[in-house]
Amino acid sequence: MLRSYKVNAALFFLFLYREESVVMDVFFEYFEAHGQDYIGLLLGHIRISLLSVLIALLIGTGIGILVYKHPIARAVSERAFGILRIIPSLAVLIILIPIMGTGVKPSVVALVILAVPPILINTVQAFQGLPQSMIEAATGMGMSPLQTFFKVKLPLAFPLMYAGIRTAAIEVIASATLASYIGAGGLGDLIFTGLALLRYHLLIIGGGSVAILSLLTGFVLDRIFRRMTRYQRA
């Protein structure tokens, strides 16, 4: 009979936790000796990711809202970021080193390039798809253009925009691992160190942490989304 994945997982952890387990010891040792370092790497990872997503959010929604009504501007901006995005992030990092040096800045640039397209494209689609009747009702009742934007357009565009932001955030968290490559810190340090020294437990801690961080972020963002769009399921 097939055991459920929950049972499997429980058995796996039991295996890891056996008192004499050597497998587990290396992990304990790592956290005992480098707990502070780990927290630092984790926070660094979160910081780079957050910064990149926030900048991409400003650029993506800003450009999206500016261009959505103008077909040519829309095509140009979407195409431009589309092309930038095709360049592998690693290549972007290496290209940026002579310009920006190493560290956080070029990493954030590379991550922003990655994060803008989903936000931009979803923003454009969200605003293009706004029901004309709703906007007309708002205008017809005497909302100024600014009031119409903040009270009607933005809330109605929000769900689709949010989906783009979510995609971007998950992608950035995974890719921020690469930033370590040029000395920006983050959980990628563990992975690169583990690779260099062939310390598999570091690989597992680094990779696992990134995976858990992604999943957790997705989960939290989904909860926030459900909260903010309760009207859709009312």
């Binding site: 005497g142 009207y231 009312a234």
Partner: protein, 257 residues
């Protein structure tokens, strides 16, 4: 007193073979319930929308209580006019209460007054305030949505109401009920209503006077009785003949209204 006056208003959209409004002139007295009747595409919505400046006419003038609407800030103008749009247009992300409170919020009424008026309007359109005020539009039937649309337009007690096929999406029985309610609300308010419909029975039942339109032109603007007895042209004649009950009511001097 004249509430609304249109003088030689023209409006043409690109690529149309006829004008959406073709030299339209009409004078509407305060307190009238004007129904605007005509088939789809004849310019009814365009006429309504030039009055609250959602459309600007190509030429001609529109006066509201003697004042050229071009001299009023469009945002201010619209806040003073009740408007029920053809597609209902409730905001899905707002509760019934917040939808009805749209204009009070723009006018910065205090919360107590707003809540009180929202409840009064809900009762006026025959919906139980306690049951409905916290619902979202998705939790309402088509008829209930149209009632909320009506309440939302009525709340600031505007002197002029523009209603664009407000009962379009409702079944015959509820439609009849809403028509009666609206008529009562109008009778008690002494406000001026402009009510667009393509339903002849509705136009004749509700209108103190009826505007009959075709291809952007006003063919006749008169009371129901006058239209039945003296149709302005063949188009009007054929139009009223299609609905025999309407003419019967009036010709036999019946109390159709």
């Amino acid at each position: 007193m004249t509430a609304v006056e249109l003088k030689n208003v023209n409006k043409q959209f690109p690529g149309m073979s006829y004008k959406a409004l073709d030299n339209v002139s009409v004078t509407i007295e305060e307190g009238e319930f004007i129904t605007i009747l005509g088939s789809s595409g004849c310019g009814k919505t365009t006429l309504i929308k030039t009055i609250n400046r959602l459309y600007e006419p190509d030429s001609g003038d529109i006066f509201l209580y003697g004042k050229n609407i071009r001299d009023t800030n469009p945002v201010e103008l619209r806040r003073s006019i009740g408007y029920v749009i053809q597609q209902i247009g409730l905001f899905p992300h707002m509760t019934v209460r917040d939808n009805i409170a749209t204009i009070p919020k723009l006018l910065k009424w205090d919360k107590a007054k707003t809540d009180e008026q929202v409840d009064r309007l809900l009762s006026l359109v025959q919906l139980d305030p306690a049951e409905f005020r916290n619902r979202y539009p998705s939790q309402l039937s088509g008829g209930q949505q149209q009632r909320i649309g009506l309440a939302r337009a009525l709340i600031a007690d505007p002197k002029v109401m523009l209603l664009d096929e407000p009962f379009g999406a409702i079944d015959a029985i509820n439609r009849e009920k809403l028509q009666n309610e609206l008529k009562k609300i109008h009778a008690e308010s002494h406000k001026t209503y402009l009510f667009v419909t393509h339903d002849i029975r509705e136009a004749f039942k509700l209108g103190t006077k009826i505007i009959i339109m075709n291809q952007g032109k006003i063919l006749q603007y008169a009371t129901a009785q006058e239209i039945i007895c003296k149709p302005a042209d063949r188009f009007v004649k054929e139009l009223i003949q299609t609905t025999t009950d309407v003419s019967k009511d009036y010709v036999s001097g019946g109390e159709g209204i």
